[in-house]
């Protein structure tokens, strides 16, 4: 018997996997909507915590999905969520890779590539704003987000520096308020 929870996890994330053009950042609003609003798996605050933890770890940011699975159903949940978010998009990438390398000189391949760029770009921008709405509760956290964004745009140094500084500032602020 497979618990209903695991089936729900597999269904929700396998569908998300297929529409996640632009990666986890682009589908973050939809992940939040599914996990918090539609499925009611956790509160907005718990979701924000998991989001923060997954951002503190290295690797592809879809590990947020693995972490959600782990939180909901332990190791089995972790495995099911990870496979559900990976298998559909990776299978598509596998097929697309073979198709593109075979027909790379065709006009429709070029048009498709070009046409998807603005959609992906708009979605990532939307994610940044949606993440700020979830993460920023006051003037200080808003300032940290804006300062990090400015650092990323104008510097090619590792953004780890900006994030570490923001984290340090937010801890230090505890002792001055």
């Amino acid at each position: 018997m497979i618990p209903d929870m695991l089936i729900d996890i597999a269904r929700v994330f396998a569908i998300l996997s297929l529409v996640s053009i632009g990666g986890a950042n682009a589908v973050l609003p939809e992940i939040r909507r599914q996990v918090v609003d539609v499925q009611g798996w956790m509160s907005d605050a718990s979701f924000t915590n998991l989001f923060a933890i997954s951002n503190a770890a290295p690797g592809p940011n879809i590990i947020l999905v693995s972490l959600i699975g782990w939180q909901l159903a332990g190791l089995a949940g972790l495995a099911v969520a990870t496979l559900a978010i990976m298998i559909p998009s990776c299978s598509l990438a596998f097929l697309a890779g073979r198709v593109v390398s075979r027909w790379s000189d065709k006009r429709w391949v070029t048009l498709l590539k070009q046409g998807l760029v603005p959609v992906a770009l708009g979605l990532i921008l939307a994610s940044g704003v949606s993440m700020m709405r979830t993460a920023d509760h006051d003037a200080l956290t808003t300032a940290i987000s804006v300062a990090t964004a400015v650092f990323v745009v104008f510097s090619s140094r590792n953004p780890l520096w900006a994030i570490a500084t923001g984290t340090g500032v937010n801890i230090a602020a505890l002792h001055f308020s």
Partner: protein, 189 residues
Amino acid sequence: MTNQQDPADDVRHTVSKSELFLGFLKIGLLGFGGIAPWARHVIIEERRWLTDKEFAAILGIGQILPGPNTMNAAVMIGDRFQGVPGVLLCLLGQMAMPLVIVTSLASIYQHFATIPEVKAAVVGAAAGAAGLVLGTALKMARKIRLAPRALVVAAMAFVAIGLLAWPLVPVVAALVPLGIAAAALERRA
């Protein structure tokens, strides 16, 4: 750095299964806040599996497909050198360390979540990560320099998802044909 020499001479034509696994293990371990720069470092600078041009093309295709572009790139690179077993080893390598680290962090966090400093650190890091995504999108927008029609499509995607919080699937389904139409009109013009 670009030069006139054919860089293909410097590039490896075979990469073994264990090299693929260990290379992507390292990329996964290093990749804080977006793994594309680390993937480039390991794959091109360090190990010379691909040229910059080949890598950019693979990342570009990865970007327009569903899923993280770096994960899609791992699939295509694995397939190129070792077929299906290569794909599986690249994906396993890329996910192994991040999964161990994220679950360890989550376990520690549950024990220390009541300490105010820990809470402040997590909140501060989340605010920084939000800024990282916003900044990355702005940087990409600056570099890609969309044509006017494409810019409208990007703005529609931003407003629908970022401001109106509409569900993703119908928005993407409606905007992808518009994006392709914009690209086709741009070429005819």
